[in-house]
Amino acid sequence: MSITKLDQMFDALRSKDKKRLVGAYTVDSHSIGAISKAIDLGIVDATLIGDIDLIKATCQEEKIDINKFEIIDEKVVKKAAQKACLFIREGKGDLIMKGLLDTATYMRALLNKETGLVPKGSMLSHMTVIEIPSYEKLLVVSDVAIIPLPDLKQKIAITNNVIKTCRDLKIENPKISILASSESATDKISANADAAVITKMAERGQIKGALVDGPLSLDLSIDQEAVAIKGFKSPVAGQADGIVFPNIESGNVFYKTVTKLVKAELAAMVVGASCPAILSSRGDTEQTKLYSIALAALSV
């Protein structure tokens, strides 16, 4: 049965092998708190790479038993990120998580040609899974954080990654909307033009494992009532499991709007590296980080 609430990820993980999380400079209370909970839930074991003094202090402050982690002392932030990548490369970890360091430093470590985690020709993209109180299921959206203006080739890769993430969430034949401002076919707007190409590729079996339709507007993607009023016929419309946004602005505004204004919860990760990478922002809550760990663990 497909996962329809973020909490259900924990149940789904129970039947899977425990994964090892590698924390890149995870010394702050939100990161350590989330990892600690994930350990308590039996989802992961964890290796924290960072300043041991800071880790100790945080654990003390948060009353967390430090012995549940393996700790590797590395006081230099950049080196901690690099070591975390090496750990994964050596097969000693299944997923990597960003701690108290700049996104740029973390991404540079992932992308480093010699010591990083991104295979040649692979493309990183960001997956966000949102639980919106008024929507009956989870929504996988992309790319809201990494690729500013994906071209057709990148959109195809993002579509495939969204499909994979939906399937990780046990959604059998996910419904994917390729978003635009309207459902009309036109070559005057690249969002609409690319959407038509991707839809046809799915029809031809060049994109597999999902029902794909686009261009679709946001209301036609997720609002059955709008679909009914417009008399619109589509296997995806009104019940999308995944949305591929035409650019980072539209995706970013969408996820921030739903999380800030309608109290949606979310989980997020970066895919395309040799293992899922958690890239939560420093502002994310412990709960979001915990969900992100669960999502990454599910997708391994």
């Binding site: 076919a185 070559d187 033009a193 038509a196 190409v197 046809k200 031809r204």
Partner: protein
């Protein structure tokens, strides 16, 4: 539903009308031959504009009584084209037809902004109805003659004109195949991006009254057996009514190949003009020339 060009002629005859055809620079034996047959079959009357003495001489040589048509003496090539176009514009004739004049000069007269037959912003293109002995029905192909490299707007016009013509033949919902070398969508083919837009336009109801799919190769478009073997689900299903080609060269070569080796006959017509315009190649068979005249009458 009309499946043979002779049935099209019968239908025109059954209209019990005499369509008035204005022939520009008419002193051409091929043209006079086809016109006289249509006159004898009772569905047209002809106004031959050109060098009066030469028209009479050509008719005499072909054993045709020149009294069966009206002759308007205009000796100059350009002036005779202008006169013929004017007569059609003024509703003194229903159909315009090219005689011995150059195709370039003739079409220049047709597209003249003030005195021509093409509405502003209209796309002029060419649609042929092909009767191929081995195919179970007529096949409408476009564009064999006018647009070298049609863009999306022009392809949309080509599609709409072909569908309108096929519907005149009693094919209520024509199946339109967008022709390429294979059915997989590839960014390497410029036509594929247009094709995916056309498919989406049909899906979204921006193009009506037809079923559209492409890219498809000729086999998937016209041969059910190939569809079965390749296992490509397509609503065209080897039963195409219309083939839309990516370029004039491709379409022109296709129809000429059918004429040369497969015993095909054709009826073709300029599209986009306010009244039907007949332009025939000198290499076409007398039968095809006659069919072109009948088609023009059907499309009045």
């Amino acid at each position: 539903m009309i499946t043979k060009l002779d049935q099209m002629v019968d239908q025109v005859k059954n209209l019990n009308k005499k369509f008035r055809i204005a022939v520009a620079y008419a002193q051409d034996s091929n043209t006079i031959g086809a016109i006289s047959k249509a006159i004898n079959d009772g569905f047209i009357e002809a106004i031959m504009i050109g060098h009066a003495e030469k028209i009479k001489a050509v008719a005499k040589e072909a054993g045709i009584d020149h009294d069966i048509f009206k002759i308007v003496d205009v000796k100059d090539e350009i002036a005779s084209i202008a006169k013929a176009v004017e007569m059609v514009r003024n509703d003194e004739a229903d159909v315009l037809m090219k005689g011995l004049c150059g195709t370039d000069k003739f079409l220049r007269g047709v597209i003249d902004k003030e005195k021509g037959l093409l509405p502003p912003k209209a796309t002029m293109t060419y649609v042929c109805a092909l009767e191929i002995p081995k195919y179970h029905k007529l096949l409408f192909v476009t564009d064999t003659a006018v647009l070298p490299f049609p863009d999306l707007k022009q392809k949309t016009a080509m599609l709409n004109y072909s569908v309108a013509m096929a519907r005149r033949f009693g094919i209520e919902t024509p199946k339109v195949a967008l022709i390429s070398a294979a059915e997989k969508v590839s960014p390497h083919f410029e036509s594929h991006s247009d094709y995916t837009q056309l498919c989406m336009m049909a899906k979204r109801g921006q193009i009506k009254n037809c079923i559209v799919d492409g890219p498809l190769d000729i086999f998937l478009a016209c041969d059910q057996e190939s569809v079965k073997i390749k296992g490509v689900p397509t609503p065209i299903n080897g039963d195409a009514d219309v083939l839309l080609f990516p370029s004039l060269e491709a379409c022109n070569s296709f129809y000429k190949g059918q004429m040369l080796w497969a015993g095909a006959e054709l009826a073709g017509l300029i599209q986009g003009t306010i009244k039907p315009v007949v332009v025939m190649s000198r290499s076409e068979s007398p039968k095809s020339k006659y069919y072109c005249i009948a088609l023009a009458c059907l499309m009045v």
